[in-house]
Structures are given as C-alpha cells and as structure tokens.
Amino acid sequence: MTVLPLLVAVVDDDESVRESLPDLLAELGFAVRAFSSAEDLLAGDCLGEIRCLILDIAMPGMSGADLQRELRRRRQEIPIVFITAQQDPSVRPRLLEAGAVECLFKPFSETALLAALQAALRAA
C-alpha cells in the first residue's frame, strides 16, 4: 500500500509565489496544487482532498478572507495558513479568531512555514 503524500494547496495571485512555494513544499514531501485565484480553487476538483490551504489574503476578485467564509459556508473545514505581504499586524488576530491556523508575513522562513504546516495538520 502506497502512502499518498498530504495535499497542500497554494492560492496566490503572485506568480513567483506559485513557482517557489510549491517547489519548497515538494522538497518537504508534500503534494502541492497551486491556484492563481480563490475562484480557480473552488472550481477545481480537489477541494475534498486538501489537508492544508496556504492562502494569500489580498487577491483580485475573492480575497483570502472571502474564501475562508465561503469554505465555512460549504462546511469544508480545511486548515488555513494565511500568507501576506501586507505588514499590518492587526490582520493576524482577526484571522486567527476567524479560525485560521496561522498568518505568516512575507518574507517568512522555512522554519516558520514548517511550524505552521505542522500546526495545520494537527488541526486537520
């Protein structure tokens, strides 16, 4: 029996993030799917398999917070790690209160990312 790697989805409109982050996650042993928007993710077919969502906050169209609400509405309880290039510290407690596992401010270290992922997988 083959143990399938845990699926992590990355949603970010920034192409460089969609390139670099999945590569690192793959090196860390995760299966990764990258989406350029929340709408693309919702339209995809893998929503039920995702064990952790790494989600950008500010995106055109649906924002990260919008997607979080939408998933809760659909009763899709996927642990979410928000990532953002914004530097407003007041964002983090609001997101955690809304159920996010972690909120990482770009640029974040590999260690911080791993810690957040582990917390997310524990929550799942």
């Binding site: 409109d13 920034d14 460089s16 993030v17 390139e19 670099s20 982050l21 590569d23 690192l24 090196e27 860390l28 500010a58 995106m59 055109p60 169209g61 990532i83 290039a85 914004q86 530097q87 407003d88 401010f105 770009k106 640029p107 974040f108 270290s109 590999e110």
Partner: protein, 683 residues
Amino acid sequence: MQEELSVIDAIPGLAWSADPAGAFQYLNQRWCEYTGLGVDQISGHGWQAVVHPEDLPDLLERWRAILLSGVPEEIEFRLRRFDGVYHRFVLRMHPLLDGSGRVTRWHGVNSDVEETSRRAEAWLAGENRLLEMIASGHPLSDVLTALCRFVEQVDPRCSCGVYQIDWSGPTFRDPIAPSLPTSYTAAIEGLPVGPDVAPCGIAASSKHQVIVSDIGSDARWSSSAYRDHVLSHGLRSVWSTPICSRDGSVLGTFCVYQRTQASPSPRQQELIGQVTHIASIAMERARAEGALKRSKAYFAEAQRLSSTGSFSWRVLTNEITWSDELYRIFGFPRAMPVRLERIASRVHPEDIPQLKHLIRRGRNEGSDLEHEHRLQMPDGSVKYLHLVARATRDEQGRLEYIGAIQDVTEQRLSDQALSKVRSELARVARVTTLGALTASIAHEVSQPLSGIITNASTSLRMLAADPPNIEGARETARRTIRDGHRASDVITRLRGLFSKKDPAAESVDLNEASREVLALSLSELQRSGVVLQTELQEELPLVAGDRVQLQQVILNLLRNAAEAMSGVHDRPRHLVIRTERDGGDRVRLSVQDAGIGLESASVGQLFDAFYTTKSEGMGIGLSVSRSIIESHHGRLWAAANIGPGATFAFSIPRQPDPGISAYALADTRASFPADAAPVASTA
C-alpha cells in the same frame, strides 16, 4: 439838420459833408479842435490849406476824379494839426444819391492813421507784455494784476477786477482788483456763483455779459446787499464779462467799474473782449500747468512706487534721457549725462553680450525691444531689470526708442523663493505620501524577498538531497536572482520618487512615468479594492519637465481617486488612468474614479492648499499638484463624470522637438507591467 450835426459831432474822426462839386458845407467840431481853425476857414475849399503841400496836388487830382465818377475811394495824405505837426490821415467818403442816381451830397471822415495805429500799437504792446508774462511763466496773480492795470491805463476812468471761480462751490476765489481796496475784494472771496447774487455771479452762470450802468437806480439790485457794497466804495457802474475757456466752460469773470453812470463804448467793448481773451489764456495755462505739475508728481510717484523708470534713446545721436527713477535704479547721480558706456558699466558682466546684441538689434532693425538683464551694483548686490521699448520715428524718419525699465528684483527673488518653497512643499508632500505608501512599499519589497528566501531554502534542500538535484537547484537560484532584481527595481523607483533634488527639465514619457507610479501603488490600490484600468496611448509625445514632480502629481491623483471611492460599496471601485494627445501640441493625463464625485460648492476650493474633505491628510496634495503642473505651463482641473465619480486631469505642452516619440524611447528602458494588467496581477 440839427440832429444830423450832433451826430457828425459825435463821430470820433474829422467828419464833413460836401456838395456834389466837393465844397465842404458842414464840418464837425473836431475839425476845428484838430486844426485850430474856425469853421469858416475850413469850409468850402479852405480845408486844402492844412493839407501838406507835397500831398495836395495828388489829393486834388484824385478828389476831382472821385467827384466826376461818383465812385468813392480812400486817399491818404498828411494834415496839419493845430501845433503845425503833420499827421497822416485817411480820407473815406460816401456819396448820397437821388432817385435818378445822381450825387446830391458827399459825406466823409478823415481819420488820424497815426493816432489809430499808435493806439493800436499801445494796445498791442500791452497785450504782448501780458502774453510774454504768461509765456515766461509768471504767477497767474501777477498776470491778472498786470491785465487790470493795462485796462486802467488805456481807460483811466475804469477800475478792474478779475475773479476766478471754484466750481466745487461754486464760489468766487482769489479776487484780483489792484485799484480797489481790500475791503471791496474781501467780500468777493467766497461769494456764491449764481443767477441772483451779483453781476459777476449772473455773468458766470449765464455765460453772458452783464451791464449795470447805474447800480444805484437799477431795479434788479434795489434790495441787494451787493448794491450797498458797490455804492459804499464810490462805484456806480458795473460791467461783468465771463472769461470762458476754449471748451466753453467759465473760468472766471472780468469786471469793470466806473465811478459814474456809464455803459461801455464800442472801443471799451473791444478792449474788454481782448483782455478777457488774454485772461482766459492765462487762466487756462495756469490750470494746465497745475494739472501738468500734478500729473508729473503722480507720474514720478507712480514710477517710484512701481520701481519703473522711463527713457528715450535717439539712435542716430546716441542721445539718452532718463527719468529720475531710472537714475535711482542705476544708482547714478541725477545730473550725470547718460551714455551707453556708462550704462554698460553697471550691467552684470554675464549679461553684457546680451545687452550688446540688444543695442545692435535696436540700431539695425528698428523693431520694438523687450529684454531682461541684471545690474551689478557697486555694493555687490544684483538687480534684475525688465526693459520694454517701442521704436518711433520723428518727421525726418530718425529712429527713437521710448521705453520703460522696471526693477523686478523683488519679483525675481520672490519667484526664486517661491520656487524653492514649492519644491520644498512638493518634497514634504512626497514624504507625506511616502508615509501613506509605507504599507504598499513594504508589500512591494516583501513579495520578492519572500520569493528569494523560499527559493534559497528550496535550493539548499535540492542540493542536500541524495543525489543532489542540481538542475532544480539551478532553476531556483535563477528565480532567486530574478526576485532579487525585482526588489532592487522597487528600491530604485522609490529612490527616484522620494529623493530630494532640484526640479530638472528633461524629456519625460508620461506613459512610462505612469507605469512606474502604478507599480509602486498597485498594492495600495488593490488593498483599497480598486479595479484599475490603464489606457495609455501608444506613441505619446514626450513632454519637457521634471519627471519626479510629474510622478508626484500622478501619485496624488491616484491616491485621491482611491480615497474618493473608499466609501463606495454598491458598485465596482473603477479607476481609469488614461493618457492621450490633447490637440496638436499638448499631452493629457486623466484619472477617472467612480467615487463620491464633486460637490459643486467646493469645486473652486479643491486646489487650495490645506483644503480637504478627508479626515486624514493635510490637503496639500492637489494644491501642490496644481502648482507643479502650472510650473510646467499646463493646467490641472477636475470635472464631475456623467455617471458616478469625478475625473481629475492635467494637460501640459509636448516637448517642442517632435522627432522622438515616447514609444521609441520606452523600448530602451526597463519594462513595467503591461497597460492592461489588472491591479492584482502583480500583488
């Protein structure tokens, strides 16, 4: 006949009446008085005895010819006076004809030409003296005193007065009557001008001469205080004549008094006519001189106040005249003759070539001149002068420049200070904007930094794998470098936008400038939920200006638009930035939002410094923006959209050289996000 004789006696010449054959029948009294002969001696042909022997033959010959033809003519001859002195006379005659046209009698008058001409000469000399006084600038009171004296000398029975009028009253003022006592003239001072006060008042208000031959018996003055005043000074007759200017306004009155009842004779009227004319010349001249003096004073004051001097330059002779103010501006003593070399000695050394060129142009072309140059004063200070001169030519076609030079030093220094302040204000505004943009900047830098760190981590892991994933590590290293450049670009753009530097005139591509600003503002706009649409016209002409300042304006307009839409929730926060040609010689940039729009009442205040409708912000953005655009010879305006929101736009002149297009230039520079890219694509 008795009546006829009395008329003949009243004639002021030697009058006679003769039969058709030329024998004198009647003579007037003056004949006898003049010749010292009796009537009998002169009658008939006796008068011939007093004709000068040399003139008699010719006189008789012509006399006979006149008697024969019946056609009168004038004959000049000498006539002996009672004292044996011969005077030149003119004989004038007139025939009396019956029904058939025959001469029934001759009437004639012999007039003393010498006396007439002597009298005329005396009048003329008197008038000339008065005119000389006027011409040589004697005070008006002296002239009018001499005028009264002149009339009193010609006719000793008369006393004269000249009374000027102050029409603000209107009242009489400065009465001059040299032979009347002060007690008389004192009552004239301040006397109202009007139709029922005194003969002078009536003459002045009606513009007609008023003759009162006997004020004691004249019913018009029976109850007048003026009557008693005149009589109490021993005067009886008053003749008042208005003194009128050339335009018909009344300047004063000329008054002649006599101590007996009298009306003016034709000769006196002639004299009055002459002197009132001279008085009007004197008074008009005094008035004009007063006005000229005032005007000169005003002009000098205006020159001093405006620091403007006037000059004339006769090009052929190099004759230069200066106003006092120009001497003051140049710091030369007033009496010093002005020469071009002397002027050049004050001109700032760096401006000498321009001045020489200007003088050459003036000499050769004879066209109007306008020029600015500096003076280097002896104390080392510098003055800025603005010269404007019009070319004129005299009747001989000789060129002369008439011009003005204004000391614009204060304006220039103010301009420089203003420019410095504006530049400083723009910098302050940039720093203010910098604060507001901090989040956006951090975002712009954090994105590539995040990429760099992630890629470096990945790369390390790939190299540490067994076997090492060299190709993967190389690829991630490439991405690391790319993201490093991306971060570096952000820093470069920031340094350009926020560094303090003097305004520079360079070729600016508004499209490229807009893209740079958009690149820095994208995340800020995105965070504000703005949907950005860029419509940058291709091959947009370059503009000449300061790129950083223009980017500051674009940034302000973008932020303004975003803030105007912050309260909008019922429609997309649509923002369009558009560049396009504006006519043939200008370029326009507009920023259209879908925000709260403009309150018509506050449109006029939008561009005032410190005017703001926002709870945050100092309200200097639009004010600074406008001053920047105006310093680029452009204009900035706001207009309400047909739909929701407003559009702010500026239009500035394109660079004069049409050879280089913005499009061509843009190819050689760093590339920026594509025009059509939505805000979020680079966030």
